[in-house]
């Protein structure tokens, strides 16, 4: 039986103030998705449940592009549990996998229990099965948890369906009067919640490695300053007040330090602040613009963007190294910006403008050992890439019909989905770490 602590923790801060709710649209899938049947879960209690577990699992699995779910209308039977499963029926329908389940009131409580079972049709074996217990409002979390199990069994990769995203929404009320919101939602845009609202810009949201705190830049004092906010308590504190630009806060992998950009000494440079001692260490020292710090996977070095050669390129520096000891990572682009390593530590996700003549900014991955570059997107104003904690997808901001939207693309470029917003410009997605 599975421990459901994660879900309970998550619910502690779900206040469900729905704003600008996003919903997913699949814009590009793979050619040969895996056929899977997700039978509607039978609800054996009274009344109507607020969430359809099977439908949530279906959209989870379909929007990452690797699966195609059979429509329930085409199913020959609607089994609720193993004893009702006839493999022959599903083989006839050319299905590879089958998920069935049922939902009951937990005896003597207001909780519900969701039993699911997952089968391999060709080998005629049950691959997984358990009972998950929670409140009715946790059904969505339970569904995402089931998606994680199915995804990991079939693909071998840990599912990221219980992760969340931060993003900024800018909504223009009238010319010169814009409301800026920092919001948090499930990875698929559902259950959006406002964490901060301001009439001044908010930028650069970022997660602490344990997912409990966030850092961002707010202009609420009319100057850009860095704040840290606890998600559960909402408590926040301003952690920088240096002259000029204070921006780009990024947590070190061990959570003890915050890399940031300060221009207090004349031009933007990379600094690292120790969050315990508040000691500030200068990393780069150059009169050009140095910005967009990102930690390497081992936390020993920082990659950053600099226009020291005239145009933005991505560089890397070990912490504690001399400011002359800088390694340049990108060469063959007019502008390469906003670098961030995939969990493998070798592939660098970045924003790329290939030539001066083509004014397109696209999301690309460069292997820093082989220097092979794969451009993943074909739109023209793509920025702010953020990698899912399992390394499988990249969410980024782009423009669609003149408005800011969030798109996601798989790291092989084969699968894309979009989270359209109901209003305002959505931008700067930051994908959470795993919460457990």
């Amino acid at each position: 039986m599975k421990n459901f602590r994660t879900v309970l923790l998550l619910l502690g801060f779900l206040s469900c103030t729905s704003h600008a709710e996003l919903s997913i649209q699949i814009t590009q899938g793979v050619d040969n998705p895996i056929p899977i049947s997700i039978v509607p879960f039978a609800w054996q209690g009274s009344g109507v449940l607020s969430e359809d577990v099977a439908r949530i699992v279906t959209s989870d699995l379909e929007q990452v592009g690797e699966f195609r779910a059979l429509s329930p209308g085409n199913m020959l039977s609607l089994p609720r549990e193993e004893s009702e499963v006839f493999y022959r029926d599903w083989r006839t329908l050319a299905q590879d996998y089958l998920l069935v389940g049922k939902i009951d009131r937990a005896p003597g409580s207001q909780l519900v229990q969701v039993q699911y079972e997952f089968f391999d049709i060709n080998r005629e074996v049950k691959l997984a099965g358990e009972i998950l217990t929670g409140s009715v409002t946790q059904l969505r979390d339970i569904a995402h948890e089931i998606s994680n199990v199915v995804f990991e069994i079939v693909t071998g990769t840990r599912g990221a369906f219980t992760t969340q995203i931060l993003y900024i929404v800018a909504e223009e009320n009238s010319p010169g009067n814009t409301t800026f919101r920092l919001e948090k939602s499930d990875y698929d845009g559902q259950r959006a919640e406002v964490l901060l609202e301001s009439s001044e810009p908010i930028m650069s949201p970022s997660w602490s490695p344990n997912g409990q705190d966030i850092a961002y830049v707010s202009f609420e004092t009319t100057l850009p300053r860095i704040y840290i906010q606890n998600i559960a308590t909402g408590q926040r504190r301003q952690i920088t007040n240096y002259p000029n630009i204070n921006s780009s806060p990024v947590w070190s992998p061990d959570g003890s330090k915050l890399a940031m950009v300060l221009s207090k000494d004349g031009s933007p440079d990379i600094y690292v602040q120790d969050l315990t001692t508040n000691e500030l260490i200068r990393v780069t020292d150059h009169p050009a613009i140095d910005t967009e710090p990102a930690w390497t996977v081992d936390g020993r070095a920082i990659s950053f963007m600099s226009d020291r050669t005239g145009q933005p390129q991505i560089y890397q520096m070990e912490l504690g190294a001399s400011s002359f000891d800088v390694e340049r990572l990108t060469y063959d682009c007019f502008q390469c910006m906003k670098g961030q390593f995939l969990p493998d530590g070798v592939n660098l996700v970045h924003v790329r403008r290939e030539t001066r003549q083509s004014p397109n900014y696209q999301i690309a991955i460069m292997n820093i050992q082989t220097l092979r570059v794969i451009t993943l997107t074909d739109t023209s104003l793509d920025e702010s890439p953020s990698v899912a904690p399992n390394g499988s997808m990249i969410m980024y901001a782009t423009k669609y019909q003149g408005r800011g939207v969030l798109d996601a693309v798989s790291i092989d470029g084969r699968v894309k989905f979009r989270l359209p917003s109901s209003r305002g410009d959505v931008r700067e997605p930051a994908w959470s770490p795993f919460f457990n």
């Binding site: 810009p201 000029n244 921006s247 221009s263 933005p312 900014y361 702010s384 003149g402 700067e428």
Partner: protein, 179 residues
């Protein structure tokens, strides 16, 4: 104070050479300041300029009219990926600097902006670079550092929405805001 030595040196060179150019040309040319003022100042929402300047010009010297027109221009536009203000704004900025020098209690804020192309963090830095270019020019021409606050909004506060070249050119700007 906040200016790194390398940077000051670099800006200093640019500013001094621009100033030299400005000094050569500003006496002979009569229409430039007024022209650039009317061409670019129209979008400004600043209420600080006197509206009676035109009608009362009879009592004002030609130089005073030029100064008033120049001070009415509070938005300065930049070319793509360029941090230096346009040469045609030089005289106007010189009037701003003299005005600050003559009124030590006056405080302004230089708000730097960029168009949306390129990443947000880079644009934040570009906006600051543009505002700093004007800051240094004003200081070299008599304003005091303590009169001027610089803030960059990067691409966060566009003057005009849309993905057109004309919107972009209106968004690459530095605004002079009275405090």
């Amino acid at each position: 104070m906040f200016i790194q030595r390398n940077n000051l040196h670099k800006f200093g060179l640019i500013v001094v050479s621009l100033f030299a150019l400005a000094a050569c040309s500003s006496t002979s040319d009569t229409d430039e300041a007024a022209d650039s003022g009317s061409a670019t100042g129209s979008s400004s929402s600043s209420g600080s300029a006197s509206s009676s300047a035109g009608s009362s010009s009879g009592q004002l010297s030609q130089e005073e009219v030029r100064a008033q027109n120049a001070l009415r221009q509070t938005v300065f536009y930049f070319d793509f990926d360029v941090a230096e203000f346009k040469p045609e704004d030089r005289d106007t900025l010189t009037y701003h600097a003299r005005d600050l020098a003559a009124s030590p209690n006056k405080r302004i804020r230089l708000e730097g902006h960029a168009d949306e192309r390129g990443t947000r963090e880079y644009n934040l830095a570009l906006g600051e670079r543009r505002a700093n270019g004007i800051l240094n020019y004003l200081i070299v021409n008599g304003a005091s550092r303590s009169q001027i606050e610089v803030v960059s909004y990067g691409e966060e506060r566009p003057a005009q929405n849309g993905q057109t070249e004309s919107a972009y050119s209106r968004n690459r700007r530095v605004e002079v805001v009275a405090r």
